[in-house]
């Protein structure tokens, strides 16, 4: 923890001579996203992640705006002089990563979207669940998003009373950008998808990759939660990319 408001995970042991990756969690998720990610110690710092406001151990309130999350992370990172930093966003976190690069000209070595694509439009059925509560939304996402059976997956989502999931899902829905602006970013972009992911719109992937130069990787037998379904393969893939 850098201060009492915001939770910084693994920031206490940064070695500037090593590569760093800032992970950004998806809707309703937090630093627990990276608990199984293992990058070689000799080359990489431990996975960095900052809990968004109202998520995990960070105080504050969630937002229905991707832009406000990217601004929050920009502010949070102000005190750190992180060189050789890459961004890796999961699901909604991918949109936040894109916005950091686009709106704030954040200097990242690499941008990795995991189970994520622009645009991300949320199904009405999921929004309805999110209006009922975080738990209902999490159960819905797990039901449709998880390919492998994983006990305890529910524990990766927010336990907050506030409608964090609803805010986050609306943030995805509300986010607008021009693909041509991404195309003009001089940042390598990689997209990692699960071949069993039913929550990512593959048509959107086609549209995105038609316009934006990028590399796409497929993880086999993985749904929307590659961080949990196959963390070893994902770690291997990320360390290959970065």
């Amino acid at each position: 923890m850098k201060n009492s408001e915001t939770y910084f995970h693994n920031f206490e042991s940064i070695d500037e001579s090593k590569k760093s990756i800032l992970f950004i969690a998806g809707a309703g998720m937090d630093h627990r996203l990276v608990r199984a990610i293992q990058l070689p110690d000799s080359k990489y710092n431990k996975p960095l992640i900052i809990d968004l406001p109202g998520h995990g151990k960070s105080n504050g309130y969630s937002s229905n705006s991707i832009e406000s999350y990217s601004q929050f992370l920009m502010n949070a990172l102000e005190g750190y002089d992180l060189k050789d930093l890459s961004l890796c966003g999961h699901s909604m976190g991918g949109l936040v990563a894109l916005d950091m690069a686009l709106t704030h000209n954040f200097e990242t070595k690499e941008l990795i979207l995991v189970n994520s694509i622009y645009p991300t439009r949320v199904a009405d059925a999921l929004l309805a669940k999110a209006k009922a509560g975080n738990g209902d939304a999490a159960n819905f996402i797990i039901k449709y998003g998880l390919h492998r059976r994983l006990l305890g997956m529910r524990n990766a989502f927010s336990e907050a009373n506030e409608l964090v999931m609803l805010d986050d899902l609306e943030a995805c829905n509300n986010y607008e950008l021009d693909l041509n602006d991404i195309k003009n970013l001089a940042i390598p972009i990689s997209i990692i998808l699960g071949n069993k992911d039913r929550l990512v719109d593959l048509k959107a992937v086609e549209n995105f990759t038609d316009v934006v130069p990028s590399q796409t990787y497929i993880m086999d037998e993985v749904g929307h939660f590659s961080f949990f379904e196959d963390p070893d393969e994902l770690s291997r893939l990320i360390s290959r990319i970065v």
């Binding site: 449709y144 998808l193 990759t209 796409t216 290959r240």
Partner: protein, 90 residues
């Protein structure tokens, strides 16, 4: 987040995709590379390499994956080939 089904049941193989696949295979063999060496080098599942070389795209979960891996493999072998869009030709 949409909720969609991935259809992997359709047969996606044609004479044309087989011919294209043969070009891939011959170039790979010319470079004395095994399928597994290619898979490891460009980080593609070996079954996808086989799928492209056999001209059978039913291994891919969706068109976008076939297209992306076709291009990745093509660039690796430095081939000048266009993706035959069997998904939209049937």
């Amino acid at each position: 987040m949409q909720v969609s089904e991935i259809n992997t049941q359709i047969s996606l193989k044609s004479a044309h995709t087989c011919k294209i696949g043969k070009v891939f295979k011959e170039r790979r063999q010319l470079l004395s590379l095994s399928e597994s060496e290619v898979a490891s080098e460009i980080f593609i599942n070996i079954n996808y390499i086989k799928g492209i070389e056999h001209g059978d795209y039913s291994i891919f979960p969706a068109r976008i994956f076939a297209l992306q891996y076709f291009n990745k493999y093509k660039n690796f072998l430095n081939l000048k080939l266009d993706f035959f869009d069997i998904y939209n030709s049937q």
